[in-house]
């Protein structure tokens, strides 16, 4: 069953082409690594999916509904690329995580108990011990984990994370990928994770979507490594470096 369909999407900013005729679909339970170089249109694509930018051409369907009429945002979790917040913002970790519950239907929040849901998300992201600290007092990695907790607190069916690991150190990053895999496999949460690090995500994602203004490749990591088109695109040495990084 399709959870997201992108059909013939094109977007230009002034005269610059950012996305050109992008089409793909994501099924329930998929774990998609959305990869591509800087400026390849990854973040623009995510912003269009969330209705933050209007495309010139194309359509998006979320859970079968056209995204312009989509109202059930509680079914989708989102971590923006860079959350630019005031470092002196006087909000505690718990207050910020609770913001993720806003899109949840009130009845469901009451049934599950708001406090339990917030505590669960904080525990998963290992920020429960610092729940009363102000966001500005945390390190970059801790802040990122708080924002991920905010994205998952409403127990979304589709989780879209834009460059979530940039502020994390390698150990925390690996742990983070593990947690996401558990979400995906144990709770059947569909994940789209944006990164420019193909090697890292290749181990975890069920499919890679390589974007460079248009869809260059969409398939499994193994298919990516065996693809002659990708050999032509990256060169034999480039493809080898991506595919055998963890050997």
């Amino acid at each position: 069953m399709k959870i997201l369909s992108v059909e013939g999407l094109s977007f230009r900013y002034n005269s610059a082409e950012v996305l050109s005729d992008v089409s793909f679909s994501v099924n329930v339970g998929d774990y998609i690594g959305l990869v591509g170089p800087n400026g390849s249109g990854k973040t623009t694509l995510i912003k269009i999916i969330f209705g933050l930018i209007k495309p010139q051409k194309g359509s998006i369907f979320l859970f079968g509904a056209n995204s312009w009429n989509f109202k059930d945002w509680y079914r989708v979790g989102y971590l923006p690329q860079r959350t630019l917040f005031n470092p002196y913002f006087p909000a505690t970790v718990k207050e910020i995580v609770s913001l993720g519950l806003f899109s949840k239907k009130e009845s469901e929040v009451i049934n599950k108990s708001k406090e339990t849901m917030i505590d669960k998300a904080m525990r998963l992201m290992d920020v429960l011990d610092i729940k009363n600290k102000l966001i500005g007092e945390l390190s970059g990695g801790q802040q990122q984990r708080v924002l991920v907790a905010r994205a998952i607190v409403n127990e979304p069916e589709l989780l879209i994370l834009d460059e979530p690991t940039t502020a994390l150190d390698p150990e925390v990053r690996e742990n983070f990928f593990h947690i996401l895999r558990e979400f995906n496999q144990d709770k059947n949460v569909t994940i789209i994770l944006v990164t420019h690090d193909i090697g890292s995500i290749g181990k975890y994602a069920s499919r890679l979507l390589y974007l460079d203004k248009k869809v260059i490749f969409y398939g499994s990591f193994e298919e990516f490594c065996l693809s002659e088109n990708m050999t032509d695109y990256f060169g034999e040495f480039g493809q080898h470096l991506i595919c055998h990084r963890h050997d």
């Binding site: 969330f50 209705g51 933050l52 109202k71 945002w73 509680y74 989708v76 989102y78 923006p80 959350t83 917040f85 005031n86 002196y88 913002f89 006087p90 909000a91 505690t92 207050e95 910020i96 913001l99 993720g100 806003f102 899109s103 009363n132 102000l134 905010r150």
Partner: protein, 268 residues
């Protein structure tokens, strides 16, 4: 002078009631405005209030009632200029603010001068506040507080991270419009308490004081409310007892609280 003597006068009781309501609203809205780096909107709208007071005096209508719709429209004007004319908020505030002052001066010169009345609005005259004005201040303040109470999560989310608020299904455009409209109403109400020239202090000082010491978003709003209301109560009493300008005394008390909070923060 004893506090009980001070409370024996009806006009001082009226001043304290109206002042407390207005200070409470200013302190809470101030937190949202300061955190969104939009705190000077109060200054801009206060200048518009100067123009609208002049219009009210010229038309021989009560300046507060004439000012409320004009200032509310101007607040939306600032927002639209920021969105549509690709201007930063400070430039948009500058345009609307100078338009307000120019309008007020033109009105005053056309009318041949109503300087004394206009001066009472410039520097505030809380001790001369009428029963009807107390009633208006209380009703509008309660309305503003109720709106903030019921839209607390939307206002908090939009203030912290507007993009995330949008994808949570919050209509952030409506929330932004509401915030500036509420600010417009509040600025007009605060004009009688501290005067047009000092309205910004009532919006900014309690909020920045609370930001020095509070340990949560709710806590910031609570501390700001206590500081703002406390400053109006203490300032009104001291100004009466020491025969000083009430608006200026309230602002000075607010500033003393701010310095104390700053020292406390640096000490601990």
């Amino acid at each position: 002078m004893q506090i009980l003597d001070f409370l024996n006068y009806e006009f001082t009781r009226r001043a304290l009631i109206a002042g407390s309501f207005v200070a409470l609203v200013c302190s809470i809205l101030g937190v949202l405005l300061v955190l969104r780096r939009f705190s000077l909107i109060g200054d801009g709208l206060a200048h518009v209030t100067f123009g609208s007071v002049a219009i009210g005096l010229f038309l021989k209508q009560h300046p507060v009632y004439v000012s409320i719709p004009i200032v509310m429209l101007s607040s939306l004007g600032i927002l639209k200029l920021t969105e549509r004319a690709r201007l930063y908020g400070d430039a948009a505030i500058g345009i609307v603010s100078s338009l307000g002052i120019a309008g007020g001066v033109l009105m005053a010169s056309i009318a041949g001068g109503f300087n004394v009345d206009l001066f009472s609005y410039l520097f505030g005259s809380i001790l001369a506040i009428s029963k009807a004005e107390v009633f208006t201040s209380a009703v509008l303040s309660v309305a503003v507080l109720l709106i903030i109470f019921f839209l607390y999560n939307e206002l908090f989310s939009t203030t912290f991270d507007e993009e995330f608020a949008k994808v949570s299904g919050i209509n952030t455009k409506k929330i932004n419009s509401l915030l500036v409209l509420l600010t417009g109403i509040t600025v007009v109400l605060a004009m009688r308490v501290v005067g047009i020239l000092l309205v910004t202090a009532l919006l900014i000082l309690p909020a920045v004081t609370a930001l020095q010491i509070a340990r949560s978003f709710r806590g910031t709003m609570a501390v700001s409310s206590v500081i703002g209301t406390g400053s109006v109560l203490i300032g009104t009493y001291l100004s009466f007892a020491m025969n000083l300008s009430t608006g200026a005394t309230i602002v000075m008390i607010n500033f003393i609280f701010f310095m104390a909070a700053l020292l406390y923060r640096n000490a601990f």
